[in-house]
């Protein structure tokens, strides 16, 4: 149904490393999102984009950054990873317009920072 891909699925790295989590969708969706989720907790919106060259911070403060140079691609970067960044990162997309609608999620990246 939905074609949205995240890589890698799992990532274990050491403190201080720079990482980029990849997210791509083939549905031509304008809107894309990054959520962060810890076990037993809600999904928190950390970044979103409503189109190329448009990015905004979400409700949860995050040290990560994002870019949207192409419609289909919405990577998330951590310049210097720390153990507090250990979490699941979920990318999502939705169609055009401002009407509320469902999001399509990727499979997520489980990040562990040692």
């Amino acid at each position: 149904e939905a074609d949205i891909y995240q890589t890698p699925r799992y990532l274990v790295i050491g403190t201080g490393k720079k990482i980029t989590l990849e997210c791509s969708q083939t549905m031509g969706h304008d809107k894309m999102y990054w959520y962060q989720q810890d076990p037993g907790m809600e999904l928190h919106l950390i970044h979103y984009s409503y189109g190329v060259n448009s990015t905004e911070k979400g409700d949860l403060s995050s040290e990560s950054t994002v870019s949207r140079i192409r419609t289909e691609h919405f990577p998330l970067t951590l310049e210097s990873a720390r153990p507090s960044h250990t979490s699941q990162y979920l990318c999502a997309s939705s169609g055009q317009g401002w009407v509320a609608e469902k999001l399509f999620f990727g499979s997520g990246t489980q990040l562990s920072v040692l």
Binding site: Y35, E42, L45, L90, A100, L103, G108
Partner: protein, 115 residues
């Protein structure tokens, strides 16, 4: 300030019986509500949604009920199956230019359906 709340962290039911998952919200501007199902280390998958102009939406074994005056919605699964065992998230959104598409999630309820 949590705008969407799922007060039951877990629920256990017997196969074939009804599962009822509950969700409360505080923001009266929410006009679209959704339920997602999630397995560990996987992304959420969409189950069912409801607009604020309705009070019920049904899709196969899944029915969502919305009570706007009480700011409450519930998901009914009948009959429950072992494959339904997962974490269920309630989410809400507002249809306007700045907010459209941004979903606010509850903490999730872990459903266990026992054979």
């Amino acid at each position: 300030d949590q705008q969407v709340k799922q007060n039951s962290p877990s629920l256990s039911v017997q196969e074939g019986r009804i599962s009822i998952l509950n969700c409360d919200y505080t923001n009266s501007m929410f006009d679209y509500f959704l339920w997602y199902k999630k397995y560990p280390a996987e992304g959420p998958t969409f189950l069912i949604s409801i607009s604020s102009i309705k009070d019920k939406n049904e899709d196969g074994r899944f029915t969502v009920f919305l009570n706007k005056s009480a700011k409450h919605l519930s998901l009914h699964i009948v009959p429950s199956q072992p494959g339904d065992s997962a974490v269920y998230f309630c989410a809400a959104s507002v249809s306007n230019y700045n907010q459209g598409g941004k979903l606010i999630f509850g903490q999730g309820t872990e459903l266990s359906v026992k054979p």
